[in-house]
């Protein structure tokens, strides 16, 4: 390891390279993610219809998959495929931005907690313990139930604000371990400032577990967003998200299965892909810590 001039993502790149060489499931998961995310990202081009348009609320109400509507239509005659793509774009964007918020906060807090000595460090650690005990879903329900008018940006920030504690603990542990290592001590002896040591030596080494946590975190936020939207306090009509699309068909799954089934499957596949990818990254870093088969 080049301790003086580490490239920030070098360890991640190396891990990824190892993955590509050895891990077929990771390649498959990555391919699956691209297959899902790309059309979603290109929804305005890829979607056959306007996702909110109700072209014929009588004739096209809850019609099964057909050539014109490959995934059928919903009770409002909207095209399920178009909504799936736009909804996916929204769900993925929400998840990615919320995860960015939590990764930033978690890394910063974890590093600060790990780097601070004495009472301040203990206090930061205790606060973290406290935050870790808050049931995230319930807190979010309380927030969104009281703040009905929250705009989408607020929704994303709230998802992010409630999701960084685990990562902070992880980062803190890493920082504590690194602090004890020789190269940090030698850098200190050479007169490097704390900030410089942190940016140069600690952060790059923390990057890998952060990337792993972020990968798993995105999947988690997708599920969370879907759950909140399904309860009616997440993304609201007419905007499509995978969660509220399931809601649109929840009470008629038996008769009109396509309305809820496709968004549900989209969530499962996406989250699975993120989980496999996160696991594979983890395995590449510490081969014994794998969690999947």
């Amino acid at each position: 390891m080049n301790a003086d001039f580490p490239l920030l993502p070098s360890s991640v790149l190396r891990a990824s390279r190892r993955l590509i060489a050895r891990d077929r499931s990771a390649i498959f998961a990555a391919a699956l993610l691209i297959a899902i995310a790309l059309p979603c990202a290109l929804a305005p081009i890829a979607a056959p219809y306007d996702p909110n348009a109700q072209p014929d609320i009588i004739g096209l109400q809850s019609t099964p998959p057909s050539l014109a509507h490959p995934l059928g239509t919903d009770p409002f005659s909207r095209d399920v495929m178009s909504r799936l793509l736009y909804g996916g774009r929204l769900s993925l964007t929400v998840a990615i931005f919320a995860t960015l918020v939590s990764v930033t906060l978690g890394t910063a807090y974890g590093a600060a907690a790990g780097y601070t000595n004495g009472i301040a460090g203990t206090v930061l650690q205790r606060i973290l313990d406290a935050l870790l005990s808050i049931p995230r879903l319930l807190l979010l329900i309380a927030i969104f139930a009281a703040w009905r008018d929250m705009p989408l940006a607020g929704f994303v920030v709230m998802l992010g604000l409630t999701g960084w504690y685990g990562l902070a603990r992880l980062v803190r542990g890493q920082v504590l371990a690194l602090k004890a290592q020789e190269f940090v001590a030698s850098a200190e002896a050479l007169g490097a400032t704390r900030m410089r040591i942190f940016m140069r030596h600690i952060l790059p080494n923390v990057a890998t577990p952060v990337v792993v946590a972020a990968t798993l975190g995105i999947g988690h936020v997708i599920v969370l967003e879907a759950g909140l939207s399904w309860l009616g306090i997440g993304v609201r009509q007419p905007t499509a998200s995978w969660g509220n699309m399931i809601q649109d068909g929840s009470d008629q799954i038996a008769a009109h299965w396509w309305i809820s089934l496709f968004p549900g499957m989209a969530i499962v596949l996406t989250v699975m892909a993120f989980n496999v990818l996160g696991d594979s990254l983890l395995r590449a870093l510490s081969p014994r810590r794998s969690m999947t088969g």
Binding site: N52, I57, Q61, P75, F76, G232, P238, D251, Q252
Partner: protein, 570 residues
Amino acid sequence: MVDLAPIDTLLCASVTPPDRRALVFILALTLSACEDRSTPPGGKPAGGTLVISVGGDPESLLPPVSSTVPSKILGDLVYDHLAEIGDSMNTVGDAGFRPRLAKSWSWAADSLSIAFNLDSAARWHDGIPVRATDVRFTWQVYSDPATGSPSAAAVASIDSVTAPDSLTAVFWFGERSPMQFYDAVNEMSILPEHVLRGVSGQALRTSPIARAPVGSGRFRFVRWTPGQSVELAADTTNYRGRPGLDRVIMTIAPDFNTALTRVVGGEADMLEQVPASSLADVAKDTNLRVILTPGLDYNFVQFNLNDRRARGRPHALFGDRALRRALTMAIDRRSVVRNAYDSLADNAIGPTVRAYPTTDPALRQIPFSPDAARRALDSLGWKDTDGDGIRERGGTRLEFNLAVPSSSKGRNTMAVLMQEQLRQVGAKVNIYPLDFAAFIDRETKRDFDAVLGGWHVEASPGGIRGTWGSAAATSGNNYGSYRNASFDAHVDSGLAAPTLDERRAHFTIAYQTIIDDAPAIWLAEPRRVMALHRRITTSGLRPDAWWANVADWTIPPDRRIARDRTTAAR
């Protein structure tokens, strides 16, 4: 006096359609196939349990202060009226009315008073005899403004009630009117003075009797476990005879879907309103039969004509009649209703139902025309200047909140459909689904821009005074505070008119006035589709109140199931 034409007799159906498309088939069949008519319980051994599945708690069990259907059902089973409207649904004079607490009645020569002779055998469920003073007390409770009864307007024609002796109650009227008998008997459930004495005004709503009623009806109250069930048991020593059933239980599901699954799953016997989207599931169930009755409900988007914060000020958007009309033009009401209800609803034609003989179905409607709506909005100065697709005028966006009771599938569906149609003309709608109690709360506080409301109407068209009349604008059920003196006058004249033709003429003008003023977008007039377990034999399902004769329903002994045979556990 003239007998009003009876409304269509109740339709009933018992078919098993293969899928949803068979709805039309059911509707066709209902006209011919009717299996059971009035079946008096006499001779048949009494017993059995009727379990009614509902999607929310009743608000209160005190009739003067309750207006939701679950409360009404229970109130009518536990309490009695003086007389009950007959199957012919006549509301003029006393023709067809059946004796209840009053064994008989006699009119004064000038028709300004009616003397009711109470049944001397009638007892309250606590054993105390029912007295004429109870009747007088009841009228006082209903008419006391402090009670805030939604029925106050309906009993306003009664000047006073006197009790010359313990079994005679005399109603005095200020003037003769065709429906004075109906006004005297239909609205008021007779209450026990000895239980309620000293309680008045707001305290009524939280008094113990509002949660544990003591009535004189053929079912007595057993218990109410909030969020779970309300249980009634047969009053075996009732003056009108023991009911055909042992128990009536209202099982309260936390939401509508659960209420439905309970009936389909066999844990309950009856669902009052099956939504079109679930009809196929219900019809497939061999244990259930589907009963169709003509609608006495209509629903609508109601605009708040006043500002939700400052009551005196007109609403920034809906204070303007022309804007309301423009928004109405943007809605394809026929398709919206068809999408949400399939063939189980007609388009509402105004604040009324087709079942009333006073309703002219050919009333002139505001036509559906998005282009006309856009032109009207343009000319009113509502223009999309910032290109975000939403019109604005003088800093105000053409955007409003629409509150919808989350328990109503049909209304939620219509809200999403209208949201898109209004977007097409540049108006933004934010849908707010609310729990039914919270929804009613918003309505009564007038804290809303627009609500997707609905009314279940009574046998008489006079109820419109309480829902759209100026008198109910500030504190009554006229939540949008619509006021039009000409409308009020024609409703009053219509109710006072001696012949059907005159009544109809006045009501037609009144309806046309309110339709043109567009205080609401009239949406659907749903038919009532009930699901009922096949083992239960019904009797005289009255269109305005199917529960009116539940005491005469029976379950043949050989068809009884486990819950019919058990008796109430203590």
